[in-house]
Amino acid sequence: MARVQLEKVKKIYQGNVVAVHEFNLDIKDKEFVVFVGPSGCGKSTTLRMIAGLEDISEGTIKIDGEVVNDLPPKDRGIAMVFQNYALYPHLTVFENMAFSLRLKKNPKMSQDEIYKRVTDAAKILGITEYLTRKPKALSGGQRQRVAIGRAMVRESKIFLMDEPLSNLDAKLRNQMRAEIILLRKKINSTFVYVTHDQTEAMTLGDRIVIMKDGYIQQVGTPIEVFDMPDNMFVAGFIGAPMMNFIECDLIKDKTKYYVNPFDSKILVDSSKGTELKSKNIKTQKIILGVRPEHIELASKSSSSAFACKVKVCEMMGSELHVHGEVKGNDIIVRIPTISITPDQKEKLLTAGSTIYLTFTGKVMHFFDKETKINILTKHKNVPVNK
């Protein structure tokens, strides 16, 4: 059992600099939780507080019900993988992985047991042939695996990973991401993973904790944070290319709702409309959030269409990323190549040409203009974005 509970955890540095504001989270046993956010948002700090490498200024952290605030790292039953691998340069890969095992005193592990554990972990990670080499003779990806292996052999209940893939090149990162997913199935531990890359968060996590400036912006499964972002920051952070944000009005017309971006008139879909009605939302100025993949080409004559001038068009292969401009606002649209005619494709690829776009009424997000909080959010205490 390895349940981690953070209750009202705060980290305050000297000079009253608050790195982490009240952090509440309940990590279930064997769950894979990802802390994600931009640099300086407090995710690494929180991880290190769980590990015991940083003092906890306020609040408590409990592991399996026991308060561990004052326990040194070695007594918390955790294993950690560092961003810079932290491999001992003068030891071979084998000895690096065996390091923690040799430190155990009661009972002391025999060489045979150590050998078995290390070689088993090495086989899983595919680094058996490097066991006699020293870290300097390994590539980045191999060193990364050794770092993971070193944490694995301890067979701890809690695995902490601090941006383990940040130092790898893009291709390797994709590869290692898949391997971590496979690894997770083989190891029966609770994972707490820190990254700044939302792709990693989305693909690896059972639940994602999005942080900014020391505050938790939202906690939820990948689908939840993608489909129902609580505020504009989360909406813009998750999903690439970034969601488009347009200032416009939400108009209530008896039982229906409309939005009017760029002088068009788009009907809000009935399911969303019911939600709005149940919350008694009136006509107001909002910021409309629409993901690039939810914008479609429309015909010039339609009332729900608006004109857009093409600035740049990126040919991604199976789709086009069109960067356009409407009335001074930048817009990004993702258009699958398969859905357009060669004529349209030609037009899109020409800079300066005008195209007509519309949104489907189904997938739109409405954010309060001042607080930037999603009008339809079910959560309380959503942080305000400035």
Binding site: D70, L71, D75, G77, L101, P107, R154, E155, S156, K157
Partner: protein, 306 residues
């Protein structure tokens, strides 16, 4: 009551701890501070005693007493300092001036030669380079004093000993200073070669690269080299003693003050020695503290890249 969990798995145990982290850290800090205060005291004590002794005078108030038995001198006064400037047997001003001149000359000449050698060895690859470096390494394994014996006679023939000792010593200090290139070379090695290459592409000659780009970039190590070269003559005993021996007017401060401790003089001049020591240490120490960071970076940077 906190309950301690029994074995979670055979090897990853929550061990009950003795004292909380905070208490242990506090105890550790107290011990550390105590240790540091003790160490500082022990290190400064001899210097403090030196200062005390320098204020010792004879019972009759004149300067120049013998080796003290107690921390505080039996009789106090500044007379010992006065002796330094008045006693004709103790031409302290002369010694100070000699050392200063030598230090200045050495600082300039010696640094120049060291920098020239280390720059070339760092930047250029020419046919005899490895051989030169190994040869100098081997040369350095001979005790330096050996050369003095020969040099003394040569300098004597040129008239650069005894009363010409200052010139002779400057020559001895500076001539072979090319051999001390290690630290400066280590520093030059850390300046990326791409800077040189960019300059060559722009049309500079190697000479221009040297004085327009490299020297300004090497300011920290230049200051370190000049500083150590300047400070060397103040502390040199062996060479100065050998080359200027017997001719009191040519002594540097080290030999001069040492001569005050000889059998015939020590009973009457020990406190004068202390006074002289204090007067010599002051400017050197102040200079050192001001330029401390250059010295530190030179020692830590170059000394260990080896």
């Amino acid at each position: 009551m906190r309950k301690v969990e029994k074995k979670v798995d055979q090897y990853d145990v929550y061990r009950p701890h003795k004292a909380s982290i905070k208490k242990r850290r506090l105890a550790g800090n107290i011990a550390a501070y105590t240790g540091l205060i003790l160490i500082s005291a022990v290190w400064l004590i001899p210097l403090v005693f030196l200062i005390f002794a320098s204020f010792g005078v004879n019972a009759d108030g004149t300067g120049g007493a013998g080796v003290p038995s107690t921390i505080f001198p039996e009789h106090w006064g500044v007379a010992s300092y006065v002796v330094l400037f008045t006693d004709s047997q103790v031409p302290f001003m002369r010694w100070f001036l000699n050392t200063f001149i030598m230090a200045l000359a050495t600082a300039i000449l010696s640094s120049a030669m060291t920098i020239m050698m280390s720059y070339v060895l760092s930047r250029f690859r020419f046919k005899g380079r490895r051989f030169m470096m190994n040869f100098m390494l081997v040369l350095g394994m001979f005790p330096g004093f050996l050369t003095t014996i020969v040099l003394y006679y040569v300098l004597k023939m040129l008239g650069l000993t005894q009363n010409g000792a200052i010139g002779g010593l400057i020559l001895v200090y500076c001539a072979s200073s090319g051999m001390g290139y290690y630290i400066s070379k280590g520093y030059f090695d850390t300046i990326p070669k791409s800077l040189d290459e960019a300059a060559y592409v722009d049309g500079a000659t190697k000479f221009q690269v040297f004085y327009k780009i490299m020297l300004p970039l090497a300011k920290p190590i230049l200051i370190y080299t000049v500083l150590t070269a300047f400070m060397a003559p103040w502390g040199d005993f062996v060479f100065a003693r050998y080359i200027s021996f017997g001719y009191s007017d040519s002594y540097n401060v080290a030999v001069g003050l040492w001569s005050l401790l000889q059998q015939d003089k020590i009973a009457n001049y020990f406190t004068v020695f202390c006074a002289g020591g204090v007067l010599v240490s002051l400017p050197v120490t102040i200079l050192f503290i001001c330029l401390q960071r250059y010295y530190v970076s030179g020692v830590t940077g170059g000394a260990v890249k080896g």
